[in-house]
Amino acid sequence: MKPYLATHAIQLGQLLRDNPNLTMAHYDTPADPKLLHIYFRADIQLRALRVPRNLQSLTITPHPGPTFHDLRAPIARATALNENQQCQNEPIRLGTQCQPKGANWLGTAGCPAKWRDSAGVLHWGYLTNWHVLSSGQFDLGTTCHQPDDSKPAFGRLAAMSPVLRDKDNLVDAALADTYVNGKHTTSDEILAIGKYADHPIVAVPGLAVKKSGRTTGYTEAKCTAVGAAVKIGYGDFDATFIDQDVYKQTEKPFSAAGDSGSLILGSRCSCPCSLLFAGGGDMTIGNPMRHVIDALGLIFPFL
């Protein structure tokens, strides 16, 4: 656990585990918590709450809310493909649809990524979610395909930070190396956005953001909370995440199934901000980029 993860972030994770009907919790201001917002399943009556002792001095505001789940999409052979779903020749711009070989789901190959492996060798490829490229079913080295596995491989799963069901998770992230037959198949650009800025930023409530993903394409939103603990459904298990960024759509839906793996960027600076991985209702959840960098050893700038 990182030193800058204050104990109150961990206490929110405990709050979710102690109360199965809660789906999310966050403070009004994480740096000086006084008010605690909790979200419970809209289909139940919240009667009692088990609150860790350290949180009992806070004012608690309950809200009925959605359940959250990962944003993979089932395999679909759509007839009218948007730009993010179409096959691309090299260099493939990211924010595009991808599928691991043999998987029964689709996700988004989010953004250009550079990292150094444990032997000190630099790699270039793209960033997406663990549940898009592996989900515990596929090992390192598995090929990934754009837009689906009817087309040649455009990379291989090279690194991942798996989601654990019994622990507080920080990220759901994976990297694919796109060096194939002597060239990199992917571009340094994201569809509808272009190149991202050289340095990542930390989300703050009110920050305007944008993303480009497989299903909803280019969309915009605002950050509504940071440092949130969220319970995420992964189909066959639930996982608790702490210290997450929360975004709310401004006009049209910010994300939908299939957008998992998209990069969320600050609207004005195009600075990497969060890795989109889950959503529910009108809310989208992202892993803070600082945790993704720590987990996978990403290096900025890309070039």
Partner: protein, 149 residues
């Protein structure tokens, strides 16, 4: 405290105060400054100890009331001597009392240690900023092949 812990702590403080993450360039610069300081510390401490020992053995070369001739000294020592005198003047103006011999000795030896550590600091700092001397094999090389037919 290990350098990585210092960097992490610095990143936390900056993020808390400004709500902005340090850029990778800023982080690496801070890391290199810390690395340079760690690198130069042994030499600087040794100089400081040697300086104090010399001062104890032969009187007080930097004391305001025992001013050695600047001509006896190297350029660096001369600058240190002038620096001590300047502090002596400031202290005298502020408090009405000049520095004692022992205080002047300690200040002179602090300056001496800093001067002593600067070359080592710069060497380590510049090497750190330059990064690994051997470049990684290959590089980012985007293709232009057709794959959608």
């Amino acid at each position: 405290m290990p350098i990585q812990d210092c960097i992490t702590h610095t990143k936390l403080l900056v993020a808390q105060e400004t709500q902005h993450e340090l850029t990778p360039q800023q982080t690496s610069t801070i890391g290199c400054i810390l690395s340079g300081l760690m690198c130069a510390a042994p030499a600087a401490i040794q100089c400081f100890i040697d300086c104090l020992a010399r001062a104890a053995n032969r009187g007080s070369p930097n004391a305001a009331n025992q001013k050695p001739s600047p001509c006896d000294k190297s350029n660096a020592d001369h600058e240190i001597y002038r620096g001590v005198l300047h502090i002596d003047e400031l202290v005298n103006d502020a408090t009405g009392n000049p520095l004692t011999v022992a205080q002047a000795d300690i200040i002179g030896c602090v300056f001496s240690a800093l001067v002593c550590g600067v070359p080592t600091f710069l060497k380590c700092f510049l090497e750190c900023m330059a990064g690994p001397t051997t470049p990684p094999a290959g590089g980012y090389d985007p293709g232009d092949r057709k794959r959608c037919e």
